[in-house]
């Protein structure tokens, strides 16, 4: 059965499911191909997700006895200043980084697809940061922010830069935005390059004939035609930046105080501070917020794309 029917079976995959009662049996090998993925996923993602959700209703500290506390963790979450500040930092950071990264990456992509010299070499240089580990480049920049930038700030007489911005409660987050942007602009830029090279030159020629200026071409031709790529970059970017962890650990470790403590850091410290149940409630809320942000983005951008 399994070998003789393989041909019609394969053909059936191309069309929509046909409601026939005589569907050939699926060859067992296909289950063998599918199951490693499904089983691994269930054990490594679904199971811990369910466990975490379960513990969010308990007062567990990560080991030993625990009791059900109902929704107490969730209520405490909204009253905990540490949690609230972690959320406001993370959201502000993610929003700022998405804007900065997309703006810079788009301009770089425009430049790199225009008629420039040394195109291959320039592309290689601008892609390079994406291959470097976030935490390691964070250590390099930590050195620059602590030892080099203050010297430059003093020489130029800029007060805000005369001491390390990493110990400045109001400015430290900008350092994190900067390093994150440095590390993640290449990926975003490559996606924009992919988008820009699909625009046929004829479109610009037609625009030029109609007397469109450079700025008009950018707004009326380029941006609308790459809007799909802007959507991809924004959604992927938000998803990554909301989970900010490595670079913060390397730069400030959440400091000064808790000024740059991200939600991911707060959740992960749940064992250390013995508030596992509480942080699992936090994780669940964080998960829901991430999904809401993604859905809202899809809604908004879909409207734009139609325009």
């Amino acid at each position: 059965m399994s070998t003789t029917t393989s041909s019609p079976q394969g053909r059936g995959t191309r069309s929509r499911p046909v409601p026939t009662s005589t569907k050939p049996k699926v060859e067992p090998l296909y289950y063998l191909f599918l199951f490693p993925a499904v089983v691994l996923f269930t054990l490594a993602v679904s199971l811990p997700a369910v466990l975490g959700f379960f513990y969010s209703f308990t007062n567990s500290i990560g080991f030993g006895d625990w009791e059900f506390v109902g929704l107490r963790n969730f209520i405490a979450l909204f009253q905990d200043p540490g949690t609230v500040s972690a959320y406001s930092f993370t959201l502000l950071f993610a929003l700022t980084t998405v804007i900065v990264v997309n703006a810079v990456a788009f301009l770089l992509a425009l430049g790199l697809t225009s008629r420039i010299r040394f195109q291959t070499a320039l592309r290689a240089v601008f892609v390079m940061p994406m291959v470097i580990s976030g935490i390691i480049i964070a250590f390099v920049f930590q050195f620059l922010f602590n030892n080099t930038l203050p010297g430059i700030g003093q020489a130029l007489g800029i007060d805000a830069l005369s001491s390390s911005i990493l110990v400045n409660e109001d400015l430290a987050w900008l350092a994190i935005v900067f390093v994150t942007a440095w590390n993640t602009i290449p990926t975003t830029m490559l996606i924009y390059i992919a988008g820009l090279v699909t625009i046929p030159a004829e479109v610009y020629e037609a625009g030029a004939i109609d007397g469109a200026t450079g700025v008009q071409q950018l707004w009326r031709i380029t941006l609308p035609l790459v809007s799909g790529y802007i959507v991809i970059n924004t959604i992927l970017g938000f998803k990554n930046y909301l989970n900010a962890y490595d670079i913060i650990v390397g730069l400030t470790d959440g400091g000064p105080g808790t000024a740059t403590r991200s939600v991911a850091m707060a959740i992960i410290d749940g064992f250390e501070y013995g508030d596992y149940g509480f942080q699992m409630a936090n994780a669940f809320v964080f998960f829901v917020i991430s999904i809401i942000i993604a859905v809202v983005q899809l809604r908004i951008t879909r409207g734009r794309a139609a325009f």
Partner: protein, 304 residues
């Protein structure tokens, strides 16, 4: 992508917004004399400094002696040039062991991601009319919406319980968290493979197992290259998962070791930077050899 460039859109403005003359005729290739956008070229060349300075500072600091590096001056040239810091960092962080652990995790993750995702994608594409396979696909896609921090702590407990609080456990997690994206890429790619190829092979008596390994899997090579490179980068550079999952500090990966030795590096900036440089180098080397695939792969991934 890097060698032969398709027709480039003549972008109206450089990044400087200098508004280069707009009307251009369609031309193949780039950098052809007469039409070079010099303002854009110059601005981009200046911008490369932001990428190059941190990397050059890393090399510069690593080549100093301890007594010279201690002043923390990033731009003074090494005098004398010394390679002692590399030896010190090699010893201090036990680099060979860290390298072996990182390599183990990365090789396993790369192989696992390619093989498991490709197999799952094949099963899903060929049985798309079956509910089980269709639903499995959407089930896997859900992973894209579950960030690792959300399941991290229960995961730490589970891996501890089953004895996977080691590099093997990290490799498995790398595979799983990349499953969704990779399976999506492979299914999209596989739908473009004509079924006739497979049928003719089956007529000759090939089993599904043979069809997959001898025909489908080799055809997936371009997509496997993309998946493999990104698997390599994410796995080699990851900090969060190994730092949480691996309980024995002696079995830590290279990025985690950099964090563990921060206090011991303290003001020995030359040793610290030598260590960072040794940690970065494998990824940079791999990148230099594969950048063609990185660029084209991301392009395909974005389009699909």
């Amino acid at each position: 992508m890097t060698t032969t460039t398709p027709t480039q859109p003549t972008t109206p403005t450089g990044p400087s917004g200098t508004g280069a003359p707009a009307p251009r005729t369609k031309r193949r290739g780039t950098g052809i004399a007469g039409a070079t956008n010099w303002p854009a070229t110059i601005v981009l060349l200046v911008c490369t400094l932001s990428v190059l300075i941190p990397l050059l500072v890393t090399v510069n600091m690593a080549l100093k002696t301890g007594s010279q590096a201690v002043d923390g001056n990033a731009f003074s040239l090494p005098d004398p040039v010394s390679f002692q810091s590399f030896a010190d960092a090699w010893e201090l962080t036990n680099f060979p062991r860290g390298f072996a652990v990182s390599a183990f995790v990365t090789i396993l993750a790369v192989t696992g991601e390619i093989v498991i995702s490709a197999m799952a994608a094949y099963a899903i594409v060929r049985n798309w009319d079956r509910r089980l396979f269709r639903w499995s696909f959407f089930y896997l896609l859900a992973a894209m919406f579950i960030p690792f921090p959300v399941v991290a702590l229960p995961q730490v407990r589970l891996t501890g319980l089953v004895g996977l609080d080691n590099p093997l456990g990290v490799a498995i997690l790398h595979i799983v968290f990349a499953l969704a994206f990779n399976t999506m890429l492979f299914t999209a790619f596989m739908r473009s493979i004509p079924l006739e190829l497979e049928e003719s092979m089956r007529v000759d008596g090939a089993t599904t197992w043979m069809v997959f390994w001898r025909l489908i899997f080799p055809l997936l090579r371009p997509m496997a290259a993309t998946v493999g490179i990104f698997a390599f980068l994410l796995s080699w550079n990851d900090f969060m998962m190994p730092s949480l999952i691996i309980s024995n500090p002696e079995l830590q990966t290279i990025p985690v070791l950099q964090n563990m030795f921060q206090t011991q590096f303290s003001n020995n900036y030359n040793v610290a930077f030598a260590s960072y440089l040794m940690a970065m180098t494998p990824a940079i080397v791999v990148f230099l050899f594969t950048q063609r695939f990185v660029v084209s792969g991301l392009t395909q991934g974005a389009v699909k």
